[in-house]
């Protein structure tokens, strides 16, 4: 770089890395959306599971969520952050080498996820399914990203950090905290581990992580991108910089408390549920602060909505953000949650946010960036407009169908006759009632994917017709006067370290107050609590349950609501899951709750149900799990599993650990004999289906005094 005088310099921005992340965004968006359409079709039409171990719903759904969040949104976030930061800081990225390590490392993580998830290597914790080697890789690459970003901040020529940068700082710091804390696990083998948390502790930590993955991966970086790209596209300054200050600090402080709103009416301590609910309601205000700032930035530029597809995407994205951040607090109210929790209303809420807010922000940003980076015009404005309307209609179809389905489910589950019995005692009645809406949802997803493919074609033609790229030198003025003394927030905007530390403290407060007390599990268990831990064979079956993703459709947590008690039995207690590493309370009931399914049906029923659910429930949409009858159980690894769990506090004896495989084989022989005696096939003692049956028959049976 050449100094013209001490304040003016000519530099090159690194836009090559931005282009790489943009291309990766396009590739993995396709994967994420295609996987989403596949799983949507599997719910509407169960044969789409193809009787395949690697393509069943339970294996593909985590692939879809991880691809959508970390591959699609993740790559887009990095593209936008690296592009906007350089310009806001008037500095090339700190290190070209780190940029490339970041890029290739992240793509390697995505590929590892795409291979391991269909193979069933999963933690059984939503949005944190990836096993421990990949968790370590994520940590390392995130550190690389952080060093590259903060290094750029350190060499900046613009003293004051624009609001977008605050949101990027909050993202980087908080995602690191969330990932490290939630990923605390002890490996059993190369691709299997158990979290150090169990039961209500795991629930608290998981949903502190899960909700704040939404907050600090799908909200704060996108707000940062909004604050940069919306004013750029509309050529209008942000509506209120003061509002951005207030809503930023309120958002980062409040969001972190909201996690327990995923656990209302569960056996999580009441105080934690209340805190989650109250702070979720308060979160409405700073969220709408962002929405208001975004939409009112378009004052004086509303005419662009008619002609500019980028503004169409951005304005619609911010509107969906407003909808989702009103609906979220609404769903966090306990009485509303009692209807909405476990239903498709939550799925609708999520996709209103991801398709509407995240997806449309990304599309707008790509339409803005690609012509500029490749120094050409967009190939077709008409195609971009067609993409907008296709995607918009798809999002609306998805959202409305799922909200209607969810409210229908929730009300049907709770409906009682005048004499106090369930109006719809068979769970399958609610499934068949909403099946047409699953088709509407799949159609919505197909529309959204179709719109995306229009964009891919449009951007492909744009890039193909672009001139050969030549890096351009940019003249920047160094305005970083380090001698000037500034006070208040103005001073803070020039003090990166102090700003970052304050952001960290803001997110730490809620985290410590909610998680720390939960770690003292004994406070919430009655003195008489006695729970038997799983036998070796039951543990083997539990790990199969996690592998197959059963928790994605079945919950194991009965709420203290009259209709649930009638349908499933007494409410779940904290002690029942005290040895569950990980907890498997679930967050969705596509199928019924299983918390007290143990001993409800004979072994043969479970055998027939797992191999072909329609044999016992003709209208079931559950996949066939035929491979469980042919795959062999790994008995030998049980010794190591028991050893790890014993070290984490599960009360196994040394004999149980040393002879775990022998005990498992013995129990397996007994179940196999029972199956044969009931008229089933013989010779199943070494098959996975027997382990699964052992686990299912143990559910609700482990508390020494089983609640009635």
């Amino acid at each position: 770089m050449k100094a013209v005088n001490s304040l003016v310099e000519d530099i090159y921005y690194d836009d090559d890395i931005v282009k790489k992340f943009i291309l990766a965004t396009l590739v993995f968006a396709g994967v994420a959306l295609a996987a989403g359409v596949m799983v949507a079709l599997q719910l509407a039409f169960w044969p789409m599971n193809l009787n395949s171990e690697w393509l069943s719903f339970g294996r593909l759904r985590p692939l879809h969520t991880n691809a959508a969040i970390f591959a699609f949104a993740g790559n887009a976030i990095f593209a936008g952050i690296y592009h906007s930061s350089q310009r806001l800081l008037k500095a090339r990225l700190f290190s070209d080498f780190l940029s490339r390590v970041h890029f290739w490392g992240w793509q390697a993580i995505i590929v590892a996820a795409a291979i391991t998830l269909p193979l069933g290597y999963s933690h059984g914790k939503e949005y944190a399914e990836l096993e421990w080697p990949i968790d370590i890789a994520i940590t390392l690459i995130w550190v690389v990203f952080a060093v590259n970003f903060f290094g750029t901040l350190a060499k900046r020529r613009e003293k004051h950090m624009y609001v977008a940068l605050w949101f990027y700082i909050a993202t980087i710091i908080t995602v690191a905290l969330l990932h490290v804390i939630n990923s605390a696990e002890i490996p059993v083998s190369a691709f299997k581990s158990y979290p150090v948390y169990a039961g209500i502790q795991d629930a608290m930590v998981q949903w502190w992580y899960g909700h704040n993955a939404v907050a600090f991966f799908l909200t704060t970086p996108f707000l940062g991108l909004m604050y940069y790209y919306l004013p750029k596209a509309a050529n209008r300054p942000v509506y209120s910089y003061r509002l951005s200050i207030i809503h930023f600090w309120a958002l980062v402080f409040i969001y972190i408390w909201a996690g327990p709103h995923h656990l209302l009416y569960t056996s999580l301590p009441e105080w934690a549920q209340t805190l989650g609910m109250v702070f979720s309601i308060m979160l409405w205000a700073p969220s709408w602060g962002g929405m208001i700032n975004g939409l009112l930035t378009l004052r004086g530029a509303w005419h662009l909505l008619r002609t500019d597809p980028i503004i169409k995407f951005f304005a619609t994205a911010v509107t969906f953000y407003g909808m989702a951040t009103f609906e979220g607090p609404l769903l966090s109210i306990k009485s509303v949650s009692s209807v909405g929790h476990y239903t498709d209303w939550i799925v609708g809420h999520v996709h209103g946010g991801t398709l509407g807010w995240n997806g449309f922000m990304i599309f707008g940003m790509l339409y803005y960036l690609v012509p500029r980076l490749w120094k050409t015009e967009l190939y077709s404005v008409k195609l971009a407009t067609a993409h907008f309307w296709t995607g918009f209609l798809g999002t609306i179809a998805y959202y409305l169908s799922m909200v209607v389905a969810g409210i229908t489910q929730g009300l049907m589950w709770q409906a009682m006759t005048p004499d106090g019995r369930l109006m719809y005692p068979d769970f399958i009645e609610t499934v068949t009632r909403i099946l047409p809406l699953y088709w509407v949802r799949a159609f919505g997803g197909i529309l959204y994917l179709a719109g995306f493919l229009l964009m891919v074609y449009n951007l492909y033609r744009t890039i193909k017709g672009a001139p050969v790229s030549v890096p351009e030198k940019v003249r920047v003025v160094n305005t970083r006067d380090v001698t000037a003394v500034e006070t208040g927030h103005r001073g803070l905007e020039g003090a990166v370290t102090v700003f970052s530390v304050l952001t960290f403290l803001a997110v730490l407060v809620g985290s410590v107050i909610e998680i720390y007390p939960t770690l003292a599990l004994h406070k919430y268990l009655p003195p008489s609590a006695q729970v038997e831990p799983y036998t070796p064979l039951e543990l083997a079956g539990r790990d199969l349950y996690i592998r197959e993703g059963c928790y994605l459709c079945h919950s194991q947590q009965i709420r203290p609501l009259a209709s649930e008690v009638l349908r499933y039995g007494s409410p779940s207690t904290a002690e029942e899951s005290m040895y569950d590493h990980p907890f498997q309370w679930g967050s969705k009931r596509t199928g019924p709750d299983l918390a007290r399914v143990g001993k409800k049906y004979p072994d043969l029923w479970h055998y027939r149900h797992m191999l072909n659910p329609r044999v016992v429930t003709p209208q079931s949409i559950m996949p066939n799990y035929i491979w469980l009858a042919t795959n062999d159980t790994d008995f030998l690894v049980l010794r190591k599993k028991f050893s790890v769990l014993k070290n984490m506090g599960t009360p196994y004896s040394d004999d149980q650990v040393a002879n775990a495989d022998i005990h498992a084989e013995k129990q397996a022989k007994e179940i196999a004999k029972s199956l044969e005696a009931q008229g089933g096939p013989s010779g199943l003692e070494r098959k996975e289906i027997v382990a699964m049956i052992a686990y299912l028959q143990a559910l609700g049976q482990k508390a020494k005094e089983t609640p009635k």
Binding site: V4, S84, R87, Y227, R242, A250, W271, V474, R475, I513
Partner: protein, 56 residues
């Protein structure tokens, strides 16, 4: 109705701590955000600065 709502607040000290922290933070930031109009206007313009291409 108030008593029914309050029944949910079983861990009152913790809830009060959380509320107080929020209120203090909110008021602090609100007061702190009262900068000069010129500073706020200048910061809001930042994304709109056009890149100057150097021809040297």
């Amino acid at each position: 109705m108030i008593s029914e709502g309050l029944r949910h607040f079983t861990e009152i000290p913790l809830s009060i701590v959380g509320m107080l922290l929020f209120i203090v933070t909110f008021i602090t930031v609100t007061i702190w955000s009262f900068l000069s109009r010129q500073d706020l206007h200048e910061m809001a313009q930042m994304p709109l600065h056009e890149e100057e291409i150097s021809h040297e």
